[in-house]
């Protein structure tokens, strides 16, 4: 049995993206879910499953209470930070394919700018010694304490191996900000940047400039998943889940997989890519747009290589000359991504993929039949291929 084609995304919803939502994370989650259900033409009474991130502060039952969902047959959490994003949809699709649930809402909502900011130095209790605490213990005492720093360690080695430069990373930021500039929902609407702006922005953690780092955002996004059959009767053309996958790599850690193998690769993403192509029976030439997780620019380059869009070390050429801009070789993140639209832990990218399939994006790529979506990089991750029916 394959999951391919059994489930579809029927609705997408979101709050506004801001720097200070002024309301609770639970309220953001509930608002995003209601918005998504309306978009799907469904009501909370139709919902029998909820899935979110392990990292989310609002439990499935708390969201169910706010929505007035009478009861849940399926609830699940996906771990590893932003690596969970597509995993929530994968879990929903599995539940639907196996008959555990009929309609599952996946959500992620947080005050990541006005509340706990992920960009700040991480702190963990020295008195808890679970495996994640131990992983952090090999790093935090050295002041190696921020996601930017953890990614910079890979980026420096990648530059060394392949001769990539800060400007190559900068081209990713320029592309995302170009896309965001024409997206009214993007935080950086009408604020494009140049490569010179990127180069002039201050160091955060060398070799990363400020403009290599995604924003910190408040907001929520929800995705309604139901059977492909039922989705056909709902208002919007379904975005059929052609493939869904999770993946981790050898010696995998949360952001710190430095101890085995090659720092210029993302084996977890490589595994996700192989599974997606195999499940969907497609290859890199068959997708017209990609949503690549862009919390930090260097990993967009590595993803292009891991997913087979170009060879090892060739991504710097792939992104040159507007290669990943909306009119380029492979339009990446036409919504502006997390660098330009908002950082909602990858969930806003899934919503954009759905719009590309529906043909309703503000930066619509012509003739989209298949869109690849990825989740967090450097962590155990996940991915989707969404397909026009």
């Amino acid at each position: 049995m394959s999951i391919s084609g059994t489930a579809a995304i029927a609705g997408i919803g979101a709050t506004e993206f801001s720097k200070e939502s002024g309301r609770s994370e639970l309220q953001l989650a509930a608002e995003a879910c209601i918005d998504a259900l309306k978009d799907a033409g469904l009501t909370p009474a139709d919902v029998d499953g909820l899935v979110t991130f392990t990292a989310d502060a609002s439990t499935e039952i708390a969201v169910a209470r706010e929505l007035g969902v009478p009861g849940l047959s399926f609830f699940s959490r996906v771990d590893y930070g932003g690596g969970a994003a597509c995993g929530t949809v994968a879990h929903a699709a599995m539940a639907i394919a196996t008959g555990l649930a009929e309609t599952v809402v996946c959500y992620r909502a947080f005050n990541e700018r006005s509340g706990r900011r992920f960009g700040r130095a991480a702190a963990r209790s020295e008195h808890a010694a679970g495996t994640a605490d131990l992983e952090f213990s090999w790093h935090l005492p050295y002041g190696f304490a921020t996601p930017a720093a953890w990614v910079a360690m890979y980026a420096r080695r990648y530059m060394h191996e392949y001769g990539a430069t800060s400007e190559d990373f900068g081209r990713v930021a320029v592309a995302m900000r170009r896309h965001a500039a024409t997206n009214p929902n993007a935080w950086f609407h009408e604020r494009p940047i140049t490569l010179e702006d990127h180069q002039a922005s201050r160091w955060v953690v060398e070799p990363l400039h400020l403009l290599d780092c995604c924003q910190e955002s408040d907001g929520g996004v929800a995705i309604v998943v139901t059977s492909a059959e039922r989705a056909r009767d709902l208002p919007h053309p379904p975005a059929v889940i052609g493939a869904a996958a999770q993946g981790s790599g050898p010696g995998q850690m949360m952001m710190f997989s430095y101890y085995e193998g090659d720092l210029t690769t993302l084996p977890a993403m490589g595994r996700v890519g192989e599974t997606l192509w195999r499940q969907a029976g497609l290859g890199p030439a068959d997708v017209q747009a990609a949503i690549l997780y862009d919390h930090f620019t260097p990993f967009v380059l590595v993803q292009l290589e891991e997913l087979g869009f170009c060879g090892r070390g060739e991504a710097k050429d792939f992104v040159a000359d507007g290669g990943i801009e909306v009119d380029g070789r492979l339009p990446v993140n036409p919504n502006g991504g997390q660098l330009g639209e908002a950082y909602i832990h990858g969930m806003n990218g899934i919503a954009e993929a759905v719009r590309q399939i529906r043909g309703t994006s503000v930066n619509q790529v012509p003739g989209v039949a298949n869109v690849l979506v990825t989740a967090g990089t450097g962590v155990p991750t996940s991915g989707l291929i969404l397909t026009r029916p």
Binding site: R124, A129, S137, G143, R156, W203
Partner: protein, 452 residues
């Protein structure tokens, strides 16, 4: 450091030059009083705090105590130095940083208990602007001379660098460095560091080395583990330079390194003693175990070959005080020149009690919160104590020698929680070179002159 561009027509430089000429013209001027005669209670406080057990101090004063006699104590209206006006002008002009760079003392004779002292100061000069590792700055020098009944008994040259701090990535974060969570599978590693060993787990069945460690060998699934002590030699696999945001306990920019150990495992740590723009992937590095406090030692890294000579094994130390003292030349010439190392644990109590015993009440030597607020990692050893420890080290290693002078070039701060390791080498009968190293690098390089 190199000379900065000529300052012709620079108004500040001109004002400084005029002021320096004025101060020089003042000549030798009386300094603040020496309130107490040379006395046993102050000497006892000093010898106890510094751990100096030389029997001669029952009759005479330790020579390195000379500056203590003229210290103003905890006195809010304390008289300054003759260089105060020039230091103030530099301060107002943005050269707000200050670091002592040199202290040279000459002892004409040892002082007897009961002697009354007075001291004078004279301005010694201004050089700059110079570009230094800390930023652009001026070196300011002054001299202090001590007299007993009109007889000169000691002199000191003191030099500071007043610098314009380079723009950093914001103020240092408050708070302390994160501490590791330690579990049953990782405790051997952290315990080893406290015992001076850098340990890597080895599978007791198949011999596979593994870092970070874990309870089951992923190769053969044995749970029986042992560890090896690794050499600490490696090469830099990758690195980052952290600028922002603030990290508690760190002063940006700082370098975090991923090291390929020669034994075949990788390890993360800070790269110390290497300016960020000189870090290169592939550079050889070596481990240095940095004592954070009594409970925590961290494995850190520095460029290979930048470390002071490792101290000899602990057993070597008492030999220096025994009958076959290295000073008596019973060893072959080359070996005889090397003095056994002395390690001093810089506990907070040590740092504070020595500061107070030297009548130095500057808060950075006893107030941790204030020291951190000023950008230091912790409270740190004062210079009067560094001078005293150099004296103690040389006289313990060369019993019977009489000190003529000590010249110290100051390096990195010696923070509480660290260990100061003194090593020395007799260049000839009258000259000893001493190096005081802490985990950050060289704290002091001293040349000690002995009377013939």
């Amino acid at each position: 450091m190199t000379a900065a561009s000529p300052r012709r027509g620079d108004a500040l430089h001109d004002r400084l030059t005029v002021l320096a000429e004025e101060l020089t013209a003042l000549g030798e001027r009386p300094a603040g009083p020496c309130p107490d005669p040379v006395n046993a209670p102050m000497i006892r406080n000093w010898t106890q705090a510094l751990g100096d057990h030389d029997a001669r101090w029952a009759e005479t004063a330790p020579p390195a105590m000379i500056q203590v006699w003229s210290m103003p104590g905890l006195n809010r209206d304390k008289p300054g130095t003759i260089a105060d006006r020039i230091l103030a002008l530099l301060n107002e002009s943005g050269f707000t940083g200050v670091v002592a760079t040199n202290c040279e003392q000459t002892y004409d004779r040892y002082l007897r208990h009961g002697e009354e002292l007075r001291s004078t100061m004279r301005f010694g000069g201004l050089t700059g602007p110079k570009r230094t590792g800390l930023g652009e700055g001026y070196f300011v020098t002054w001299h202090q001379t001590w007299y007993a009944e009109g007889e000169r008994v000691a002199e000191m040259m003191f030099r500071v660098l007043k610098f314009r701090p380079r723009a950093a990535g914001g103020p240092p974060a408050k708070g302390r460095r994160a501490r590791p969570a330690i579990g049953p599978d990782t405790r051997f590693f952290w315990d080893g560091l406290r015992d001076g060993e850098l340990r890597v787990q080895r599978c007791a069945e198949c011999g596979r080395l593994r870092h970070p460690p874990g309870p089951m060998c992923p190769e053969c699934h044995a749970t029986k583990r042992e560890h090896v002590t690794v050499s600490g030699r490696g090469t830099l696999h990758s690195y980052v330079v952290h600028h922002h945001p603030p990290v508690p306990g760190f002063d940006p920019p700082f370098v975090v390194a991923l090291v390929d150990l020669e034994e075949g495992v990788r390890m993360v740590g800070d790269l110390l003693g290497c300016p960020p723009d000189q870090v290169r992937i592939g550079m050889p590095v070596e481990a240095v175990l940095q004592k954070i406090d009594d409970d925590l030692v961290l494995p850190q890294w520095r460029p290979a070959g930048s470390a002071p000579k490792p101290p000899p094994a602990q057993g070597a130390e008492p030999a220096a005080q025994g009958a076959e003292s290295v000073a008596q030349g019973t060893e072959p010439a080359k070996a005889a020149a090397e003095l056994a190392a002395l390690s001093v644990d810089l506990t907070p109590t040590f740092v504070i009690s020595t500061a107070l015993a030297t009548r130095d009440f500057t808060p950075v030597h006893h107030d941790t919160a204030l020291a951190r607020a000023q950008g230091s990692t912790d409270i740190f050893l004062n210079i009067l104590t560094t001078m005293g420890l150099v004296q103690r080290y040389v006289l313990e290693r060369l019993p019977g020698a009489v000190l003529e002078g000590v010249s110290v070039r100051l390096g990195v701060p010696a923070y509480a929680g660290d260990t100061l390791t003194l090593t020395g080498r007799a260049l000839d009968d009258r000259t000893v070179e001493v190096r005081g190293a802490v985990s950050l690098g060289d704290h002091a390089i001293a040349t000690v002159r002995l009377k013939g």
